[in-house]
Symmetry: D2
């Protein structure tokens, strides 16, 4: 496999390719093949952007048809039939069954574009500039999103990333047995706390990059109460945890909260084509026409595939299958934890958004390498890179799941024997 072009011309910033030094070509479901014909089970799925598997035929077929018929591909925010179909499908299959009524904004197609739009709207709505964000959060690589992210290496990047952010501890941070929600309520109530009332609190119900840390329903409910008490906009960044990843469409459904703003991207298009939306509580939709824009907000290819994805959620066989797979995955992980106590410290996450907190980053690194050799792609997360992310497609077949887990089991076995 020829990788000269990458070595010679691509920037040193490339990374996954160094972990997986091969050239990929075809992909279907949970499996991808490299140029040498070797197959790999994919537990990364585009960092959560391919929850429905690679080239899911239900999703891709209408897109091929759309292309062949010379339908419009890029349309800014003009009206198109494909966009209308997507909106209708999203409302019918996703929002209405969950009793949610949001206005939909189409910002630029990446997650960080959506978060930037959400933060800008919250600032505009409240007239305040600071935002409260959590330890070990991750919200994206553009400056507004970087500023609210927790990782030191990420934040240094912007050079100017510290502004207007109030950092507070996430649910269960530092195992202090310390009630972070109550602390937040306290500083917002005390005029001498030195902490201004923020425009928004932005949070991920599960912090994927931060180490698969999981907020409890009680904590989420309490944060929502605090936001309402103090007139602060609650933004849920559901970019990685949403779009079906936890087994439900939104990752916060289990807590029965209703955030003021929700951002979605990654798996939203179902196809890997860039798409993001911002869901806005209707009375908060005070945007003036054209006030926020972006060239690629009218990606009709993605509208077509996203519409097909949404409709799957109206199919009870689909949702039952996802639920069953989640249970199966959790059972697998429980077994691994019991089997490899020398390697694994703790299970993290929920549903199909799972993590294994290991004893060290060295363990994770070796498991990663052995797994790749045997045909499984996994990646790590957390500030100390000691958590294995386990993100199979939510549509993975039993055979693929079992194979992937078997390879993981084998890789852990080797470390456990060390």
């Amino acid at each position: 496999m020829n990788t000269d072009a990458f070595a010679t011309y691509e920037s040193n910033v490339r990374r996954y390719c160094l972990s997986f030094p091969t050239v990929f070509t075809k992909a279907l479901g949970a499996t991808i093949w490299d140029e040498a014909g070797k197959s790999h089970i994919d537990f990364i799925v585009g960092s959560g952007a391919l929850n429905y598997g690679h080239n899911n035929p239900t999703i891709i077929a209408p897109a091929i048809e759309y292309l062949i018929s010379e339908n419009i591909l890029l349309s800014l925010d003009m009206y198109t039939a494909a966009k209308r179909d997507f909106i209708e499908a999203f409302v019918k299959s996703i929002l209405k069954p969950r009793g949610l009524s949001y206005k939909i904004q189409f910002p630029g197609p990446t997650g960080t574009n959506a978060n930037e739009a959400a933060l800008a709207l919250a600032r505009k709505y409240t007239g305040r500039s600071s935002v409260m964000a959590f330890t070990n959060s991750y919200h994206g690589m553009s400056l507004g999103s970087l500023a609210v992210s927790g990782s030191a290496s990420t934040r240094e990047l912007g050079g100017v990333a510290r502004h207007d952010v109030i950092r507070v501890p996430y649910d269960g941070y530092a195992n202090q047995g310390f009630d972070s929600a109550s602390y937040i309520d306290c500083v917002l109530s005390d005029p001498g706390s030195g902490i201004e009332r923020p425009a928004a609190i932005i949070l991920e119900p599960i912090q994927a990059e931060g180490g698969m840390n999981t907020a409890s329903a009680a904590w989420l409910t309490e944060i929502q109460r605090i936001c309402r008490k103090h007139g602060v906009v609650l933004i849920v960044d559901d970019i990685q945890a949403g779009s079906g990843r936890t087994g439900e469409f939104f990752s916060f459904e289990f807590a029965k909260i209703e955030p003021d703003i929700v951002t979605l991207s990654k798996s939203l298009s179902g196809s890997g084509s860039p798409l993001s939306i911002v869901l806005i509580r209707p009375d908060l939709d005070i945007w003036k026409a054209g006030e926020h824009s972006g060239t690629f907000r009218g990606n009709n290819f993605a509208f077509v595939t996203a519409g097909a994805m949404c409709k799957m959620w109206s199919d009870v066989r689909f949702t039952a299958g996802v639920e069953r797979t989640a249970v199966k995955l959790q059972a697998h992980l429980d077994r691994l934890i019991a089997k490899f106590p020398k390697c694994i410290e703790q299970k993290r996450g929920r549903g199909l958004m799972a993590g294994l907190k290991c004893r060290s980053s060295a363990v994770v690194s070796r498991v990663h390498d052995v797994a790749f050799e045997n045909g499984l792609l996994i990646e790590s997360s957390g500030p100390n890179r000691d958590v294995i992310k386990v993100l199979p497609p939510i549509t993975i077949t039993d055979a693929e799941l079992d194979l992937g887990i078997a390879i993981l089991d084998h890789a852990l076995q080797e470390q456990d024997n060390v």
Copy 2:
């Protein structure tokens, strides 16, 4: 045509659709059709993101083939065959013939993602945080790009957008007959000027959103000299003016400068699929692996179409055709200016990136409406919205161009008679 879904569910932020209240479906070349079957000549082309026309068969055909064969669509920054093909085509057809040797970074797929990456790299490289940017510039909607943009309404959006930016006058600003390059040199040389040495100067060779303001070759050359003298990184944002828009691939070729960093997006994919790259002078490529990332940086659909686009530039019939069309467009505009002095004040832009500075925004607004009624899509730019942007596909047929211009002529005629 049913637009209820938009009215009920889409955010108030939508704008183009209000200017063009119809639902578009099919599109080919410079023509798009709405659901009622009416055709429109498109002089907006996705705000410059469809320089090669809608559904250009040379570009789209390989993508359809790619999809049908179940090739990998989203790959983060793993190696794929499609990405390799794109890099090779870009180097062979674009960089090498122009004597350029850049490293290529793939950030998130939107223009603002690319500018944020460029700014972050310049800050990292120099260890400085402020950036020099120009009056009436536009660099994108995420916070780092907003901060360097000039438009007041845009900048207010971020709430925190003012930081670390030094604003200086663009070439010819305010018709002061004032040498802005010499002023910049002066403040950077004076330790009492109150202006820190910036990490970078970021500029657009033609300011599209700012009113189609055009920098001279002499000024660009002087800015490059000043950057080198003071150790400042020169970033050219060629997102709208590049990828062929001016008739040459890069908009700065005519000035014979070689920027340290160049950002491309919009028409780079050729298909309207989101894609952006950052071109980096090799010794400046000090990124550590994974230091900058983004889910959608591996959009293989776009790699395929972008590769096809690049190859067109190796075809002399293609480049000769573009050149001829540019000449033709300029002749059309010269004629309009001579014909409607009551409406038009000045021609702006270069090549196929043209603008008509009108006497007032009211004129522009009425011309826009009459043109739309008669089947032509145009939009305005500039701080006072009094410049008509004329951005046909660079591959537009003579018949389409003549038709579009005829509709524009008619619309101007009506205003001139007022």
Copy 3:
């Protein structure tokens, strides 16, 4: 008493004069007289700037002599005999007996000038820009000091006061039983915490404006340990609590810590003449000559009176007297607390830096008014203005102290009967 000039010409910003609507003229020890000849016991003493009483003859006599002899009054940072005498007295009577060896910087003569210099030096020394500061802190009214202060109303003032500050909870904040020192250690150790390593931690051992909150010796020791562990400069703002206020010269002596930087002002001159100094651990004194300046840093009148003040600390009768007075004051306060449980919730502070936390700001306000009527000046502090500050001169006579307390007792009595 004619107050027309104030009403007509002085800015609306004036405040104490509204609480005490009379015109003061003479002052001696703990007593001040108004134009009508009425005397008042002073428990405010210039917000802690007159610890040694008004017109203390030991302090003022040499200054009168200095003036009469036409000695130099303002000298920038030139050498003068008066400045030399002060330095020698400060080293001999204050630093040496406490085993401290600091370099002395003379910034502008106000407390906030000193804090700004301390913060600037810490930033320069570490190359970092953010500073960790506490809930309910108060460090001054210029922008750098405002930014690290806690009070919302104060902070809003600067308009831009939020930058580069990390807010953390003070010892015992919010009665959460939560170990704030351990939390600080945790976030500084976690690369994902979103909290950069700061240049400095700045703290007041007793937060006067913040409500007379008192840090424990254990907490101060732990904060010093954390600073050393993470290479963070520890700045103690001893502007109000130092210069003898707690009964010892520095307020942190009881905790046996040795801060990297200490700022002093207020009572430092002993006379009320503006003077401040920054004490710097010698290896941290990396200032270049002239790098920090200020017109009034050479106030020789203040050097003369400050020198006289320092020498008092070498007199054991003086220090024994202060100690005795502190014990006496505390006994008085304990008695008041026992007597008026309906008014007073808690005793605050240490030594002669005392506070009475009352049940409400309304109580405090009425006590203040009744006390003034009867010849006692007191003021309130705390975010909710519900703490009575009790700051008599540390040189107060028994008779003055008893009289002041009797008036306070009477005023509390009236409220307790309500």
Copy 4:
């Protein structure tokens, strides 16, 4: 002369003392003596803080009387008889004769305290946060004032000094023949300029630290017009150029402008005792009681001496004498310029606020050293330290002035012969 105490205990930040390595003791008028009994003519006068000479008996005598009588020295912002007398004298002798009606705010006693208060008030009044400031300006060492200052070395100090400042060129900047006022008007009128409407424009009519740069009456008038047109507060920092330095009390009188806010300090007390005030256009005095504070705002010693200073301005013999001295100084300087063209490039300043722009900083440095040796104190200014500041007391006797100039002449002579 013993300087051990300074070498051992004073911070490395000290500077003037390195230029003038002697210990000063007595001072009267324009003359100061060192411990060895040597006399020096003082053309620095506390960086402009001793315009009325050292120990001016008219000013100091009432202060000695005040001290001896045990009058109150420090009073926060309570009413005192001394403060009332100062206000009345300032209104009667300074404001009324000039047709000015300002409210007077007493902030902390240093110049930077006054500028911080002025900036805070302008931000509060307008609800905007950025401030427009000029190349080579100097406004003080605390963070808010640093941010608007021009000098690179000063600005770096704050670590965070760049925020919310728009830098624009001062009158005549860079000899570009470029109309900076018109440029400012243009960017404030253009919604795409990237420059927000600021809260205030802050300027010095003569930039002392910036190199004795002098604004013309026409430019000041134009800036005032632009401020009024755009609703921007005009702040004149008259800390060094005011209080009589130019020969008139305010340095802007010659231009017949009436700034919205004026800050005074330095020579305001007449005695060198720290004092500053903020003069506020009455309708702009929207401070709430206590919203801005400072311990040392009630320095009654300074009120007494400042009152005595004000009354001098009602004496026509005094003002005539100052005028005559200004003429005499200018004649002296014209003669030096004509005599030493190899050393001196240009005269700077106005009235008794004079500067000699020399050919290099090396010349200035040597002139400084030779002058000191012969009994004259001078200092340099400007970004390249190549301007000799000539700031004698405005009350200097002819004999002292002639002597000082003779020493300067001699020192220049030596350089001219090199």
